[in-house]
């Protein structure tokens, strides 16, 4: 089903490209694939097109004025979509941005101050990124499907955990705790994009805001490992966890996902590892940090693999480095589980200082190039 739909998209995109090529003698408006020429001077700001299809918009800027200038694409409320500062006299710069349909302005600010000289820019299309590389559309579609699969697979695992809690079975609940989190940890940036679900299900004691009631996995983690007892409150909280995660499962399909957000999401997963897992803060009672760690890395790797066809074409050195560093981190993590198909990792309180340093170094080694993935995708 999906394959059919995707091939249609590809065909349409191909047709658009053809139109763009044949229409390029017309100077009026930019078509897909065309850049808008922006000629900035001390008191003028000329744009070669006033409307452009939604998606990746490219401004080819030339400063013919005598002062350094700044060129911006602005929302109607002057919020900046994308900008380039400090374009020196006589210099050129290409600015790209992913822009949705709507009314915008292009501003040139000679001397880099003041209101500047403005030109209207209408971005057409139904809010879709019509011009985007079809391979990136496929990457987003595949990633959305992955996120949905993870949510779908998480619910039964959570229900197993919750049943054990409701049964008052401490041992079974402890055993089911970490596996219930894997799908969530793999796709956490998607869940976090909804804003309201993450605080309900994944807040740690130190992350509570004044007056916030502590609910979710970590509240139960504390009950199981530190307090070592399951009371009526825990049983109620366990039920709430299923409700909140069902909400998540139903919303994944509506999540706003772009190639950039996928790439940045991959980096954010590594940030999660660096700030929460390597330090042992995330699972401070259960010490199951390495399970989350592995799931975060897997989720990041999934995003990366889906974006790799495009990123690799734009920056093959980057993807070679990322391949290497993902492999190195995977290999390192495998040291902490007896069976490569199992998520039965070493308890993190048994991982010594030198080993934590080694893990931290491997995370830095991967996260630094991963922070460049987004720019390799939008190039």
């Amino acid at each position: 089903m999906r394959a059919v739909r995707l091939s249609v998209v590809t065909a349409v995109a191909g047709a658009t490209a053809l139109v763009a090529v044949t229409g390029c003698t017309e100077k009026s408006d930019a078509k897909g694939g065309d850049a808008i020429q922006v000629t900035a001077a001390d008191s003028t700001c000329d744009t070669s097109a006033k409307s452009v299809p939604a998606g990746q918009v490219t401004l080819r800027i030339e400063n013919k004025g005598s002062k350094a200038t700044e060129v911006e694409i602005l929302f109607p409320d002057d919020r900046i979509v994308s900008e380039k500062e400090n374009i020196g006299p006589g210099t050129k710069y290409t600015l790209t941005a992913e822009v949705k349909a709507g009314a915008y302005e292009v501003a040139c600010r000679p001397g880099m101050k003041g209101h500047g000289v403005r030109q209207k820019l209408t971005v057409t299309g139904g809010g879709k990124t019509a011009k985007r590389d079809p391979r990136l559309d496929k990457a987003v579609a595949d990633y959305r499907a992955y996120a949905q699969e993870q949510a779908d697979a998480t619910l039964p695992a959570v229900k197993t955990f919750v049943k054990a809690v409701k049964d008052g079975d401490l041992a079974a609940a402890k055993k089911a705790y970490a596996p219930s989190r894997i799908g969530w940890e793999r796709t956490e940036p998607v869940a976090e994009s909804f804003g309201d679900i993450d605080p309900k299900v994944d807040t740690r004691a130190d992350g509570l805001e004044e007056g916030q009631k502590w609910t979710g996995w970590h509240r139960l983690e504390k009950a199981l490992w530190q307090d070592k007892k399951i009371g009526a409150t825990e049983k109620t909280l366990a039920g709430q966890l299923v409700t909140d995660l069902t909400d998540w499962q139903q919303r994944v399909g509506k999540a706003e996902i772009t190639p950039t957000s996928m790439a940045n999401g991959a980096k954010e997963l590594l940030d999660e590892v660096a700030t929460g897992k390597v330090t042992g803060e995330e699972e401070r009672y259960s010490h199951t940090d390495l399970v989350d760690f592995k799931a975060n890395v897997e989720g990041a790797q999934k995003s990366y693999e889906l974006l790799k066809p495009v990123a690799g074409k734009n920056d093959s050195a980057l993807t070679a480095e990322l391949d290497k560093q993902f492999a190195a981190l995977d290999k390192l993590l495998d040291k902490y589980r007896p069976n490569k198909n199992s998520y039965d990792f070493t308890s993190y309180d048994k991982v010594g200082k030198d080993d934590r340093k080694e893990l931290s170094d491997a995370v830095n080694a991967l996260a630094e190039p991963l922070s460049k993935l987004a720019s390799a995708v939008v190039k």
């Binding site: 900008e83 101050k113 991967l366």
Partner: protein, 438 residues
């Protein structure tokens, strides 16, 4: 958004690496009084030209680097020797030791080239790569940004190669004989997490933020190839390589490094600091050897010690710094007048067959130790032509007998071969070691 000062390059041409010697110093300023005196009868006009044009003068392979009269300007990066050794000691230090994480020689060599390019820019007061802002919105900026708007601050970046590096990349036969593993000295209580390292970078600057920015950005460029093993901040120089200047004091309150080698003493530098012709291996010619020791001081115990004992321990008086029985700091010491275990008596070149090292250490205070005591001391840095004829015999003697040992403990240690300087825009740190023909 639009009115902030810009000190980033605006056009593409300025991104090219321009040799430091062709650049005007970012901060010339008026020559200091000391600079004028130092240049003797040259007169005010010439003195001004020299102080302002320090960058232009250095880097030609001179042993002496005259930059440093002010506090804000740039020290030449290129030269026969690395800067940061004979260079007048800056006020602040960030020193980092790294472990190599890659087994890929080509990737490591590329890192050395990338580091050199970044160091060349940072020592000239420029941002790394394409700068700290204004680039692609989707990508993190190349430079971390905290040094924007700050002067070059006489930043020097000095790289060193530890003994363990030579166990990697098939470099075993290129390891200098002088790069020995330091022996264990009596009283050493070395912490693994503050000891050793495949590589080091010493960042010295008159502004601490400039030094920290440099190490931070090099560490970032290095991720995946190297990882920081340990690092140390230093806040007050404890030695000077400018003889006319007031000798700085260590945290015990005593003047330190009275007889240190001056950056202008070309002959002594050649004799005691630079690896020279005939010193194997050839790739080290123009380089040096660095011993780094984190020396914890028992500050509170020292502070309760009677003045007489403090002065006996050092062999100098506390106020002037004069040797026992003498009136002035720079009077020649009469060693036999000192207690047999006095620090100066034991450490003085005259008592050690002339052994001389160039000291460039910094005081440190890393907060408190959890027991309410300052975690403070001396981060000792000594450059020498051969540690077997420098630090090692000296420390053997001191560790056995020095009265100061009651108040100090060596808790971190490392030794590095300091390769020669980066000659020009095409050269890079470690080229002579890693290129086949050398």
């Amino acid at each position: 958004m639009t009115d902030t000062p810009r000190d980033r390059d605006t056009d593409d041409t300025s991104k090219a690496d321009i040799p430091a010697e062709t650049e005007a110093p970012a901060h010339g300023g008026a020559p200091s009084r000391r600079a004028l005196l130092g240049w003797g009868g040259a007169g005010l006009a010439l003195g001004a030209a020299v102080a302002g044009g320090a960058v232009a003068m250095a880097g030609g392979g001179d042993d002496m680097d005259p930059a440093g009269a002010g506090t804000g300007g740039a020290v030449a990066f290129h030269g026969a020797h690395q800067a940061g050794i004979a260079t007048p000691v800056q006020d602040r230090l960030h020193f980092a030791a790294f472990d190599v994480k890659t087994t890929d020689r080509a990737a490591f060599v590329q890192l050395l080239k990338d580091w050199t390019a970044a160091a060349r820019r940072m020592t000239a007061g420029k941002a790394v790569g394409d700068g700290a802002y204004g680039g692609l919105a989707e990508a993190p900026p190349d430079d971390t940004g905290e040094a924007l708007g700050l002067e070059p601050s006489r930043l020097t970046l000095t790289i060193g190669f530890g003994p363990s590096l030579f166990e990697k990349f098939d470099l075993g036969d290129r390891r200098p004989e002088a790069l020995v593993d330091l022996p264990k000295f009596p009283g050493d209580n070395l912490e693994k997490s503050r000891t050793g390292g495949d590589l080091c970078v010493q960042a010295c600057a008159d502004d601490p933020q400039v030094a920290v920015h440099a190490i931070r950005n090099l560490a970032r460029i290095g991720f995946g190839k190297v990882a920081v093993r340990w690092s140390q901040l230093g806040f007050g120089k404890t030695s000077s390589t400018t003889p006319g200047a007031q000798t700085p004091r260590n945290l015990f309150g005593f003047k330190d490094g009275t007889r240190n080698i001056a950056g202008t003493e070309t002959d002594r530098l050649k004799k005691y600091v630079w690896a020279g012709e005939g010193d194997d291996p050839k790739w080290m010619e123009g380089g040096s050897y660095l011993v780094a020791r984190r020396i914890r001081m028992n500050i509170e115990v020292w502070d309760r010690t009677a003045l007489q004992e403090q002065e006996d321990v050092f062999g100098r008086d506390k106020g002037e710094g004069a040797p026992v029985g003498k009136a002035k700091e720079h009077d020649a010491p009469f060693l036999k007048a000192m207690k047999p275990d006095a620090h100066v008596r034991l450490a003085h070149p005259d008592a050690n067959g002339g052994i001389t090292i160039l000291r460039r250490g910094y005081s440190f205070t890393d907060g408190t130790d959890g027991l309410g005591r300052l975690d403070a001391g001396l981060f000792f840095l000594a450059y020498q032509r051969d540690p077997r004829k420098g630090f090692i015999p000296l420390q053997r003697k001191l560790s056995a007998s020095d009265a100061l040992n009651e108040y100090i403990q060596h808790v971190g240690s490392a030794v590095f071969a300091i390769p020669p300087g980066v000659r020009d825009a095409d050269d890079w740190w470690g080229r002579a070691l890693f290129s086949e023909e050398a």
